[in-house]
């Protein structure tokens, strides 16, 4: 079982090594290196950059992230339920399994409707 996930580790490492091989080895041997101060400036359509780029950003991103967290956690609970839902139906407990999940979803949908009504989903 654990060996199945060996592939995940190996693929991640090989992927990183492939990028390093291309960027730091293969391309480094072939490409020119002639830096000038102008080349190394930040691109801003030819204008001199004004101020830094590490800005404070709008709070709406944060609101979307919060609503997302709610749903991401919800879905984590839905997945195991979906896998065994068929078994419940075979046992004749399909309606029970469905209603129980429905209660869970409705509680979360109430939160979603609240967020919607409060304008958390408006891009202003």
């Amino acid at each position: 079982m654990a060996a199945d996930y060996g592939y995940v580790g190996v693929f991640l490492i090989v992927g990183v090594l492939f990028v390093i091989l291309n960027v730091e080895v293969l391309s480094r041997l072939l490409r020119p290196k002639r830096p000038t101060p102008e080349k190394l400036t930040t691109y801003e359509c030819g204008e001199e950059p004004i101020g830094g780029s590490w800005i404070r950003f709008h709070v709406r991103y944060y609101l979307y992230a919060l609503v997302y967290i709610v749903f991401a956690v919800e879905v984590i609970f839905l997945y195991p339920w979906a896998v065994i839902f068929k078994d419940f139906i075979k046992e004749g407990l399909g309606a029970l399994a469905f209603l129980e999940m429905l209660v869970f979803i409705i509680i979360l949908l109430l939160g979603f409707i609240y967020a919607w009504r409060k304008g958390a989903l408006e891009w202003v």
Binding site: D4, G6, Y7, V8, V10, F11, L12, I13, V14, G15, V16, F18, V19, I20, N22, V23, L26, S27, R28, R31, K33, R34, P35, K39, L40, T41, T42, Y43, E44, P49, G52, S53, W54, I55, F57, Y61, Y64, A65, V67, Y68, F71, A72, V75, L78, Y79, A82, V83, F85, K86, I89, G94, F98, M101, L102, I105, F112, W116, L121, E122, W123
Partner: protein, 347 residues
Amino acid sequence: MIEQLVQRLYTLSATWDIPPLVVQLLLMVVVAVIIILFVSVSVMFLVWWERKISAHIQARFGPMRVGGWHGWAQSIADGIKLILKEDIVPQAADRIIFALAPMVVFATALTLYIIIPFGPGLIVKDLNIGVLFYISLSSLTVVGIVMAGWSSGNKYSALGALRSAAQVVSYEVPLVVSVLPVIMLAGSLRMTDIIAAQEKIWFIVPQVVAFLTFFTAALAETNRLPFDIPEAESELVAGFHVEYSGIRFAMFFMAEYANMFTVSAIAVTCFLGGWRGPALVPFLPEKFWAVFWFLTKTYFLIFVMIWLRWTLARLRVDQLMNLGWKVLLPIAFLNLGVTGVVMVLLG
């Protein structure tokens, strides 16, 4: 034949006192390199294909010269050009994160190929969490994108990265919810089990709504038009990779096209019956037709993606968010509920 070869390798290594773990790791690396080769060829083909389709939709020819026949070698020439380009890291950039970002994006794109079922037995590892593995890992891409945008020290990049994060996060939810009915019908997360469950009927027939929401969300997840707000070139130049050039940019580009293939492959597996299809010419082996149908269906979905690019105009940011949260998400949940009720009623 491959099994015999692997077996011989193990016996050989035993005689040379090499521990089996080393052989196992070596085999895994070989598989990873094969997948990298497949990804590279597939990406080169896709880039050429997209340019040809785009050109023909606009009544142009597209690349015609490099290599002779319809410019087939154009992508190879582009690749060589990108390797030969000077590597420019702007003064204002955070160098370490700037270098790490393409690695994160490419490594996750590559790792997702583990669960793509090309044919019976032709899957790197048939993980028992299949679909969940795709969903959890594919959202890691956004970490790389935010790293790239933030470390570039460019206002366009920072804005593009933030938008990308908001978009991927928003469309993740309908994407994940629209896969749920498929899992309910198949009763498993394993890719081969999902394909096996579609023996009688492809899941697109009972789950056409789920397929449409999945495909729409998938377009947004891969930042394809009409959802390419993060790199809307008319306002953000190129979004998160404005400051990336040469081979570093190529890595992002490869990962993007690799992700297009992955998401189409997942859609084919979950809704279009995976590798199932009739054998058109009888004397070729069954495995050949499995791979043939899988690739044909996947590339057809990619063709639809490219087609949509020239059919639909780009959405505004607020329209994009509204579509994700106020249209797709309620539809996906409604579909989930209807599927549950129908399954309970039909037993």
